[in-house]
């Protein structure tokens, strides 16, 4: 194959990765933006989404699309409930202290991972794609499902944007983000907003995982890379800035895909992690906001 088609294939792979990454990172960014906490267990919510998707699709027989649609509904709901429970039982009692929250969510990460290992097992399991067609380019054929992932992810992000800017719930979230004290004075139930935002963030991660699981298999350790990549994206994009998050996800996801195709995936990750470290070092307050520091 010539360089041109090869590069096109690499970009397509990168775009699929970027689409799912954007969705996952959006969840992390939303939680950080509104609640000013770092959720280290975010990758585990992603993993739970994938594992639940496997469960739902393997229980529902018939056409693969049927199980997949059910998974798109069930997995985020269950993950959201778990996240809301964790928020009420643990994070609220810590008063959202940034460092205590990190320790607690690390604990949550281990608990969820062990739950998945004990019940689901250590095997990687595939989920059948809901649609099965290939798009034939002149140089190579490409899975149609992968293109659908990009479209679906874009649609979901548009949905998030509409909720945040056009609905009452979105207004409450933005008010809480801007100033929780004043929001409370205007009778906004800040505690419930926090629980809702934390659940919503987890649900976005779960949705991303359901979309990716027909391409990658579900595995109990799969939350690790999305967590680190989401950190990277959220930091580079600027915390709390959802537009920045999406833009950074596209850049990081695309370059990760392209570097992985041409060089080694490990090298791509080393470069990305170092990039973040240096962005944070040189723009510590610019990207993180003065309040978190």
């Amino acid at each position: 194959m010539d360089l041109g088609p090869y590069l096109m294939l690499a970009s397509l792979e990168g775009a699929v990765g970027a689409a799912v990454l954007a969705l996952t990172a959006l969840g992390l960014s939303l939680v950080f933006g509104v609640m000013r906490i770092v959720n280290v267990a975010h990758g585990e919510f992603y993993m739970l989404g994938a594992v639940l998707a496997w469960w739902v699709t393997s229980m529902i027989g018939g056409h693969p699309a049927l199980g997949f649609v059910a998974a798109m509904v069930v997995a985020p709901l269950v993950v959201g409930l778990i996240a809301a429970a964790a928020e009420r039982l643990v994070l609220r009692r810590l008063n959202y202290d940034p460092e205590a929250t990190i320790v607690a969510t690390i604990g949550l990460l281990y608990v969820i991972q062990q739950l998945a290992l004990s019940t689901y097992g250590a095997d990687a399991r595939p989920v059948p794609a809901p649609i099965d067609f290939r798009i034939q380019f002149p140089w190579f054929g490409y899975s149609g499902y992968k293109l659908c992932v990009i479209v679906a992810s874009a649609a979901l992000m548009l949905g998030v944007w509409l909720v945040l800017t056009r609905t009452r719930a979105g207004l409450m979230m933005r008010a809480t983000q801007y100033d929780p004290e004043t929001a409370r004075a205007f009778a906004i139930p800040v505690g419930r907003v926090y629980a809702g935002v934390f659940a919503a963030g987890a649900m976005l991660a779960a949705l991303g995982a359901v979309l990716i699981v027909p391409i990658q298999q579900a595995h109990y350790l799969m939350g690790h890379d999305p967590l680190l990549l989401s950190f990277i994206v959220v930091i580079i994009g600027g915390l709390g800035s959802l537009r920045g998050t999406v833009l950074a996800a596209v850049i990081i996801g695309m370059s990760d895909g392209i570097i992985s195709v041409f060089f080694s995936p490990t090298l791509a990750k080393i470069l990305a992690t170092l990039l973040v470290a240096f962005v944070l070092v040189w723009r510590p307050t610019g990207l993180f906001g003065a309040r978190a520091a």
Binding site: V103, G107, Q113, L228, P284
Partner: protein
């Protein structure tokens, strides 16, 4: 001799005596616990005394581990030199990382250290040709001798572990009681005020990180030389989180807390493994439970309630 010094020397004496009384199994465990407790003590310098939440200490432990391990594997160095190299590697990596990461504080500092440590871990995997990546490599017996004694022998190993742990613990004690230790505590309590009083906060934190890195490097090198195995797992995130857990459990900013936490956590997992394989669940619930109900740890709570003299 004050109560505090007596207590710490007493613990070392008790540990020295314990090896003659303990059955083989616990004898081996205790040697491992002492090396890991040295690592936890190193973590305690930055997290406990200076109040910096780092998620990158696996990088310093790994630097010591690989400095000693690779030097023995490819340079044929003797064990004492390996330990020195480990200390140097830990201190140098910590200083370089500190120069960059200390420009940030709080949550940003935690993420920057996590990212550097992750880059370090991936680098170990990337140079798999030499490090053999996840699989790791076993040190040759020739590389594991000190003064003609083999470190593979349980008695020698125990004494060596006790020496490393003793040095790190007494170093922590001296640091905690020194003027420098008080400056670190002041930074933890109120960084701005310390700066206003004329202390160079950046320099103090960098020194704390360098000392902590040197201690962690010593623990890493000792681990490689005493147990003869070098693998990428020891540079992974897990080994940044474990010292945090041990220190939280024993009590942050107490000299003996890291040892107590390591001992308890090690046996908690050891005992529970006879009826469940769910180690991660125990670690997870321990972290959540400690931060929710017991944020000062065992010795921290004891100091608050009963023994204010505890260093």
């Amino acid at each position: 001799m004050s109560r505090a010094v007596g207590l710490h020397l007493g613990l070392l004496a008790a540990l020295a005596a314990a090896q003659f009384l303990l059955p083989d199994y616990h004898h081996g465990n205790l040697a491992r616990i002492m090396v890991l407790a040295a690592f936890a003590s190193a973590y305690n310098i930055t997290f406990g005394y200076a109040g910096m939440l780092s998620l990158g200490h696996a990088m310093f432990f790994g630097a010591g581990l690989y400095a000693a391990g690779l030097a023995a594997e490819f340079g044929g160095t003797a064990a004492p030199l390996g330990l020195v190299l480990g200390v140097l590697a830990g201190a140098i990596v910590a200083t370089v990382v500190g120069l960059l990461a200390l420009r940030t504080t709080g949550v940003s500092f935690m993420i920057v250290t996590l990212m550097f440590a992750q880059a370090g871990f991936l680098t170990v995997l990337y140079f798999g040709e030499f490090t053999r990546g996840d699989e790791g490599f076993v040190l040759a017996p020739a590389a594991r001798t000190v003064l003609g004694l083999s470190l593979a022998d349980p008695a020698t190993r125990y004494w060596a572990a006790l020496c490393v742990f003793g040095a790190v613990m007494l170093g922590s004690l001296a640091l905690a009681r020194s003027a420098f230790g008080r400056v670190l505590a002041a930074i933890r309590e109120n960084e701005e005020r310390t700066r206003m009083l004329g202390y160079d906060v950046f320099r103090a934190k960098l020194m704390a990180l360098a000392v902590s890195g040197a201690m962690a490097g010593a623990a890493g090198a000792a681990y490689a030389l005493l147990f003869g195995y070098v693998g990428a797992t020891f540079a992974s995130i897990q080994y940044s989180i474990l010292p945090l857990l041990w220190v939280l459990m024993g009590g942050a900013a107490t000299v003996l807390g890291p040892f107590l936490g390591t001992l308890l956590m090690f046996y908690l997992i050891d005992i529970s493994s006879s009826f469940t394989t769910a180690h991660m669940m125990i670690v997870g619930f321990a972290l959540i439970g400690l931060i929710l109900f017991f944020p000062k740890g065992i010795l921290g709570t004891l100091r608050e309630r009963a023994a204010p003299w505890l260093p």
